[in-house]
Amino acid sequence: MSIEQIIGRYVRVEIAGVPQRIYYEEAGEGRPVLCLHTAGADSRQWRHLMNDSDITAVNRMIAFDMPWHGKSLPPEGFETQEYLLTTEAYIETVLAVVQALDLDRPVLAGCSMGGRIALQLAALHPERFSGFIAIEASDFQPAWYDIDWFHRPDAHGGEMGAALVSANISPFAPNAERWNTLWMFMQSGPGVFRGDLSFYTRDESLIPRMCQIDTQATPVHIIVGAYDLTCTPEDAARTAAAIPGATLSVMDELGHFPMSEHPVGFRPFFLEGLAKMPAWTAN
């Protein structure tokens, strides 16, 4: 028997004037590292790194569930709303969590759509962070599928979404973690994956902003898996090339959900990313 070091709590914030009760988990002490999950999933994707005592010995790892995801309920009145994530709402959510938890210039580590918004924040609000680790992140990805497939009355969007994103998981991933990763998509609320993908596949606003990113002030490190069909190494390389000073690592045996699908394989790449972030000292 064992009890993990991860602790979960709720924080209440207002986003665009709407009260939201957001679930977050944290583990460790030291430099704050705020971790963002992918579309259609939740903070459980980060559980392995948050249980890694080498990482948590010097880092305060924090991961939260976006509203509508995981243990963060949708807002009051959701039953008549169409969930469509926007860049503006996503930025406001991340900044609200940083403020509510009183995080002093955390490292922002985001995967997929979390990596996209990390780059948006690197361009628009760098003063709130010390650096950015953008995983499976690119400037823009048009959909190679119909996002409306994943929200229909005649089929289970979660099961279809999981079957689709399985294309992005490496065959090197341990079977148990492959299926734990897919389970989160299977559990996703109706229309949530679609609403996330709307942001991820339709918003091109990052492209002209990338040249604004000052990596001297806030480093940007991009990590990408070779088995990622959604954000390919070519997509990540194009993005890194457009950000002066950004660095890039390619993981030959990983896919789109590296921290969840293959935590052992991802660990050295995440540590490499953390090492590229500025040194941190407690105030």
Binding site: W144, W149, D154, A162, A226, L229
Partner: protein, 126 residues
């Protein structure tokens, strides 16, 4: 190719979880490899018939078309990037899906796992 498809048929018959996943799937699927047609007829998840073409009279719900080299790479125990999934083959330009794609998506886990069954057989089984 037909030997691989027979392996797939036998593997499905021996996989109760796939038969359960496919219990509502009763369709004919066209698999075209290097222009060679194979009509796979499923009944309630069972692969009842594997019928080589060509045929202009056999209706099918959706088709997956690829080349033999890509298919063999797909069936490797640990495929290289792009060859590890049918959508990967489409993305790298080695596969094409047409027909009722929504029917495929509704049964995506079932179809992908059935198609990959030869991946788990010994290399010399075919």
């Amino acid at each position: 190719m037909i030997e691989k498809l027979r392996i797939m048929q036998g593997g499905l018959a021996a996989a109760p979880h796939l038969l359960r996943l496919g219990r509502l799937f009763s369709e004919t699927v066209l698999l075209e490899v290097d222009g060679e047609e194979f009509y796979l007829t499923f009944e309630k998840g069972h692969l009842r018939h594997v019928v080589p073409g060509p045929s202009r009279k056999t209706p099918y719900r959706f088709a997956f078309r690829t080349d033999a080299e890509a298919m063999m790479k797909f069936w490797k125990p640990c495929p290289e990037p792009g060859f590890h999934d049918i959508f990967g083959l489409v993305k790298i330009g080695r596969g094409r899906i047409d027909g009722d794609i929504l029917s495929l998506v509704k049964n995506l886990r079932f179809f992908k796992e059935v198609l990959s069954l030869p991946r788990h057989q010994p290399e010399d089984a075919a």
